[in-house]
């Protein structure tokens, strides 16, 4: 058949016609994501260099940013340890209900952040039934961030741990290495890229978090106010220029972390191959 012969001679482009797919998809991305961000950057630049600097160096803005970055570091560090422990327990340990625990890890991803905040207020708020009130303290900020970032390290370490060859550990053990030595010298080095990648994801999430912190922290300026809450306050009080400037700063930090994640992944990939 002639039509078949023609098709063999000149195979058509794969999938839908190329320009249509990439054109529409890219336009959608530009319209949904890039255009609003361009408006944000434009608005912050309208303040001029001086205005921008004034906005981001206002004492309340600086206090909020400091708290955000420090709390995120604390949260990332706790996640690095507890996330690895949880991943270890889920992969290497055997106990009844392991499947349920494994499914529970994803709950913070699925639960709306405001609901996460509400549950924390219920247990650790002013009317706490256990008598622990963390409300309106910096501890509450850390607690809320820990809740929402719980899955990141567990979910990046778990697959690596599953794939890890047990023979190396057995060889080390048979040569007389203690449990701790095996973990420190054999297991941990293999997990480092996964832990770092999970920690970076948790960090990026933590510095932008809003919904889970608004209820329990009380949003006290200079004390428990994080950057996203500060930006929210500036929008509500009719200072979009200030809000835009601080937003651009926060956005650049997130972007930096995102690039770092990419670098860590490439580094890990090269280690895997080499």
């Amino acid at each position: 058949m002639a039509s078949n012969a023609a098709a063999v001679a000149a195979p058509r482009p794969l999938g839908v016609r190329a320009p249509v797919v990439q054109g529409l998809a890219t336009m959608y991305l530009g319209f949904v994501v890039l255009l609003p961000l361009a408006a944000l950057v434009w608005r912050s630049s309208r303040e001029g260099r001086h205005g921008f600097w004034q906005a981001v160096s206002a004492p309340e803005a600086v206090a909020a940013l400091k708290l955000t970055l420090v709390a995120a570091v604390v949260v990332a560090a706790i996640n690095a340890v507890m996330g690895t422990v949880l991943a270890w327990v889920l992969v290497r340990d055997r106990f009844v209900g392991r499947g349920v625990v494994n499914a529970l890890i994803d709950l913070p991803f699925a639960l709306p952040t405001i609901v996460a905040g509400l549950t924390l207020v219920a247990l650790y708020g002013p009317r706490s039934p256990v008598g622990i009130s963390a409300a309106y303290t910096r501890g509450a900020v850390v607690l809320a961030l820990l809740f929402v970032t719980l899955p990141f390290v567990v979910r990046t370490v778990q697959p690596t741990l599953l794939e890890l060859d047990r023979e190396m550990e057995e060889a080390a053990a048979s040569l007389g290495a203690g449990r701790l030595t095996v973990f420190r010298r054999i297991v941990l080095p293999n997990l480092v890229p996964a832990i770092l990648s999970g920690v970076a994801l948790a960090y990026a999430r933590a510095i932008g978090e809003f919904g889970s912190v608004v209820l329990i922290t009380g949003n006290l300026p200079f004390k428990t106010e994080v950057s996203s809450v500060y930006i929210y306050g500036q929008i509500q009080s009719g200072a979009p220029g200030t809000a835009a400037a601080v937003s651009v700063l926060l956005l650049s930090i997130s972007l930096g972390v995102l690039l770092l994640i990419g670098a860590v992944r490439r580094w890990a990939w090269r280690h895997d191959v080499g």
């Binding site: 890219t26 959608y28 944000l40 949880l86 699925a110």
Partner: protein
């Protein structure tokens, strides 16, 4: 025993951080039986809030699914200038604070924004109305389908598609009969994640909606308003309903994931 110590540490961390707070809210909600809960989630404002949340998800999820698959196809199968940028921008919503997203939309469509005057002249309400809430939700839930579909597209390669094309299938036939069936579980998983994100969105919608009770208030905003208005029963009941949706999402996630792994 080190094993038991680790198990104890991991599980107690989970209990203190996650299980106890969520469990307490469930217990507090159903403390006085089902009737007050039912009453609290069927008030006019609550019903409207949940309906609005569902409506927004009904628009945002299909949009992000169709364009998400398109974006994944473009990223994996095509070469075009700016592809690296597209790849990076797709992940951007995951790293942005939802408040910043809301502000960016305000500055684009608001009264003083680029498009604000245009819409105002034509009497179209974007900000503090449904359109901006939909745009905000689409923005924050954009990456999920793309990120689930991209690795699967890479993995399946182009051999089958090339074979189909060689045998005379049109590009549309190749897409519908070869490519889409191969990535259907990845799409399903992505859709579940997108839906969860849409139903739970709070920060971005909070900025662009203006919190107009009974008009631009979604389920998550309703939770906040009830809590701050000291209607704990209402806040808890709506939260539990949202949490039940989240748990259903978890079940769906677990149902879709193994198939993906063994495929």
């Amino acid at each position: 025993m080190a094993r038991y110590a680790l198990r104890f540490a991991g599980l107690s961390y989970l209990a203190v951080l996650l299980v106890a707070p969520v469990g307490l809210v469930f217990w507090r909600t159903f403390e006085h039986g089902l009737a007050p809960v039912w009453h609290a989630v069927t008030t006019h404002d609550a019903r409207h809030a949940f309906w609005l949340t569902i409506l927004i998800a009904l628009i945002a999820v299909p949009a992000n699914t169709v364009f998400g698959v398109g974006l994944a196809l473009a990223i994996v199968r095509r070469r075009f200038p700016g592809k690296g940028l597209v790849n990076a921008v797709v992940d951007l919503p995951l790293a942005l604070s939802p408040v910043v997203v809301g502000l960016a939309l305000l500055l684009l469509y608001g009264r003083l924004g680029w498009f604000g005057p245009f819409f105002e002249r034509h009497g179209i309400h974007v900000v503090f109305a449904l359109p901006s809430m939909i745009l905000a939700t689409i923005f924050v839930s954009l990456p999920f389908v793309v990120r689930e579909v991209v690795p699967v597209l890479r993995e399946i390669g182009t051999e089958q598609e090339q074979a189909a094309s060689t045998l005379g299938a049109s590009s549309l036939q190749t897409l519908v009969r070869i490519t889409l069936p191969a990535i259907r579980w990845a799409i399903a998983y992505g859709v579940v994640l997108t839906t969860a994100r849409c139903l739970g969105e709070f920060g971005a919608v909070s900025v662009v909606s203006g919190h107009l009770v009974g008009r631009t208030e979604t389920a998550t905003l309703y939770v906040q308003d009830q809590f701050e208005g000291f209607d704990l029963t209402g806040a808890y009941a709506a939260s539990v309903l949202l949490a039940l949706i989240a748990i259903a999402t978890l079940v769906a996630m677990n149902a879709f994931r193994p198939k993906e792994a063994t495929r």
